[in-house]
Every structure is written in C-alpha cells, then in structure tokens.
C-alpha cells in the first residue's frame, strides 16, 4: 500500500510547473503535504469523540500512510537529488543543522508507525499498539519544529502549523475527567 501513493505523488509533482528551483519546490511541496496530512490525521480521533461516528477511524490510517509517503519522498529527494547521496555532507547536515536533525528524528519516529499500520500488527501488538502510535505526537511536534527552523524569516505558516498542533493535542487532554473530578469533590461538601 505504501508504494502506490509514492508513485502517484511523484508523477503529480512531475506534471506541475516547479519553477526555477524545482528541487526546492519539490521539497517544499512534499514537506507541506506530509505535515498537513499528519495534522489532518490527528483530527480524526477528536472528531470521532465529538460526533460519536466510529467508522471515521478508518481514514486515519489512510491519512497517516499518505503523510508517510510524502515524508518518504521528501527525505528521498533530499538525500538523492538535493544532496546527490553525498553521505559526508548528509551526515554533517544531520549532526550540525538543528532543523535537519529534528526532521530526521521526526521521520524515524514515523517509520515504526507506518510499518505497524496493518491489521496484522494491530493484533500482534494488542494494547501496545496504541502506546506505540502515541509516537505520532512527538513526530508531529518535531515536524513543526523542522518547518519553523527551516524558514528564513516568514514564520507565518510554521506558526499556524504549531497552533493547529497545539489545539489538536489539547483536544486529547481528558478535560471531561478533570471537570467531573472537580464537581465530585465540590459535591461532597
């Protein structure tokens, strides 16, 4: 399932007018879509709770895998086209440029999530699957940081992404449980 979207994405990009710096354009597009799809994927669980419509959970995996496809293409283009597989430069980049360090870290966190996205793995891991997939939170956070540290001066979109992530994470805090606890304790007076 992983390779299909990758090819589709690659052809899509090939068809567009990428301008004078196509490599930069491809990196920007793939990075943007990876982040957007990751954030949209993070909307699913809160939406399920809000609407009570369970079947919505099925798109979460699709979104996640598409995000991973875009992230993979982003990484591939960086390694192969941008850096020409010049490993000494790549290693130096990863070690010395914070935005690349966190970008790499974000991708690495997504790998086990993509691998274990199948039903087979869900069964095999059971309860631990849920725990493992919490890695999407730091992965998303690092991706936003990667974006924020990459831009030269115009931090508008990275900040929008940061705020969106903030909201989506806050949506997961068990507010109701706290409120319930509050009213219970005040009720015993």
């Amino acid at each position: 399932m992983g390779l299909g979207p990758l090819l589709w994405v690659a052809w899509q990009l090939g068809a567009q007018d990428l301008g004078a710096n196509p490599i930069e354009a491809v990196l920007h597009l793939t990075g943007r879509w990876a982040l957007v799809l990751l954030l949209v994927g993070l909307c699913v669980s809160p939406l399920r709770r809000l609407t009570g419509w369970s079947p919505i959970i099925k798109i979460r995996r699709t979104l996640g895998l598409f995000a991973f496809s875009y992230a993979s293409l982003h990484l591939l283009v960086y390694l192969v086209v941008d850096q020409g597989l010049a490993w000494s430069f790549i290693v130096e980049d990863v070690l010395k440029r914070p935005f690349i360090t966190v970008g790499m870290a974000s991708f690495l966190l997504l790998v086990p999530l993509a691998v274990t996205s199948t039903r087979g793995w869900m069964r095999r891991l059971g309860k631990r699957w849920q725990l493992l997939h919490r890695l999407v939170y730091p992965a998303a956070g690092l991706a936003v940081l990667h974006f924020y540290w990459k831009v030269k001066a115009d931090t508008f979109w990275p900040l929008v992404a940061a705020m969106a992530l903030g909201v989506l994470l806050l949506a997961r805090v068990p507010w109701r449980r706290w409120v319930h606890r509050e009213s219970r304790s005040s009720g015993t007076r």
Binding site: W11, G14, V81
Partner: protein, 335 residues
Amino acid sequence: MLIKKPGSVPGSDIPASEITPYEVYLNRRRFMGRMARAAVAAAVTPGALAACDFQGGSAEAAEGLAAGDAAGGGIGGSSGGRAQEDALTPYDDVTQYNNYYEFGTGKADPARNAGSLKTRPWTVTVEGHCERPGEYAIEDILARFPSEERVYRLRCVEAWSMVIPWLGFPLKDLLTWVEPTSRARFVELTTLFDREQMPGVRRPVLDWPYVEGLRMDEAMHPLTLMATGLYGRELPNQNGAPLRLVVPWKYGFKSIKSVVRIRLVEEMPPTSWNKAAPNEYGFYANVNPEVDHPRWSQARERRIGEIRQRPTLMFNGYGEEVASLYTGMDLRRWF
C-alpha cells in the same frame, strides 16, 4: 536608457547574443522532464538515478549558453581552477524566482505582484557627507551615467545562485560625481517604502524600509554596480526596477533593489537583515564557504538550472578583485 557597448556600432540594435537564446528555453523544458522522471526513478530505484545523465544536462545548457559570456563585459572574476561553466541563467528564471519581500515572501510573489510598482517618476535622493547632495530624477542619472553590460554571478545567502547579464554603471562613477567628503566612511542605500504599491510591507517581516550599506572602499570598487537593466532590457519590477545595487562578491541580500536614497555616513549603518537576525546576517556578508549560516551550510550552492550542487567559491569567485579589501580582517567575526 543609454547603453554603452564596448565595440558596438552606435545606433545598432542589441546584438543577438543578448537575446535569451531559444536553446535556453528548450533546455529548461527538457530539464523539467528530466527532473520529473528522475524523481520517479529515485522513488522506485535509487540506482536508476545513476543512469540519468545529469552532468550531460547541465553541460548541454552550458555549451548552448557559454556564448553569452563573450558578450559585453564578460564575467569578471578569475579565481583559478573553476571546473564548472558559468552559463547564463535563463531570463525566465532570473525574472520569476526572486526575493523581494515587499511584494511577498514567496519566490514567485514578486513577479506576480510587482506590477503595482511605479518606476516613473522616480527620484534618487543623495544626502549626507558630500558636496552635491540633492534629489536626482532617474532620467538624469541614466543620462549622466551610461550603462554597460556586466555578467555577474549572484549568490543568495539561501545557497542558490545565478549568472545574470546586468546592464549598469559603476556606483563609483555616481559617488565620485557627488564628491564625498572625508567624513563619508560608509554608503547607506534605501529601498522605496510604499504601502500602496508594495503589498508585502503591510506585514512586518522585516523592519521597513529595506536598508543596506557598504564600506566606502567597497562602494568605490569597480565591480560594484548600479544596475539599470538585465538581458539588454530595462530591469523588470521584480528585479528591483528602476535602479538597484549589485555587489557580486557578497550575498544577494546586500544587492538592494529599487533604490530611492543614497546617504554618505560616518558610522556603519544598521542594515535590514542584520537587524532581523544579527547572528545570521552580518554587515559585510562576503560570500565565504568557510563560514556557515547558523542554520545551514554555505560550502555549497545550487546554481539555478543545475541539479548537482556546486562548491561555493570564496568571495563568489571574485577573490582576485576584492580580497585585498579585507586583508587582516577576521572574516568569521566580521561575517
């Protein structure tokens, strides 16, 4: 615009070598196709990339365009051992891939939005420590200082670069004419700041208006150009019409666009990018592969139109001409 052409017959048309060669246009489309196929090949089998002849692609572009080097003033700068060609960057790329934040922060924004820039009437105010301060109409400046062609490399701090056939006159000529006094140690230049014409300035991405500066000896250097055109035509708005600075041995942000004021000052002037991020952008901003930007390397660059990155040259390859300006200076401290 008066164009001084060394060796050309007065009154003749712009020579054919200055018109964007058709091969350039073709090469660009071929390059796109290659990029697309490479991306797919890379996605499926990284090994396939080796089979794609990229060096061939850029050599093709180079041989089709190397003729451009022969026109006019030549490329200037002769640091020995430059293995790769400096082919002219296609006109479309020069005019559609720009950093001009007053018209938006995207690379395509200036070309899209700079139509609102009014380049006539245009006045350049000269003030400060000089004998001939005043407000000079652009027409008078163009008449007094005839333009000639200069082919320069331009290296952006973002690590991409171009080769551009500018038209312009040495800043030195203008400065000599206004007669700086002994108190003039720096030249400060300012861009137009107009909320009506420049949609991008409504956002405080930088502290408007855009200001840049040079030390007096840098400003008086023969390479320092006040550009009035490119590719034999008037400057497009997005490239800094009607008058902009080009300092080829420094990062591109020093080459300030759409100049409205030139001030001769005693103290080093604060400059826009240095104010925005003092640890990232210095006053001197000499191209230096040994001093990295805090967030990315400056050792290599992407020449627009090429796929492989190329090594960045000290002073952008103009070391022979300008290194003497900085003898004894710690270029890591004064970055």
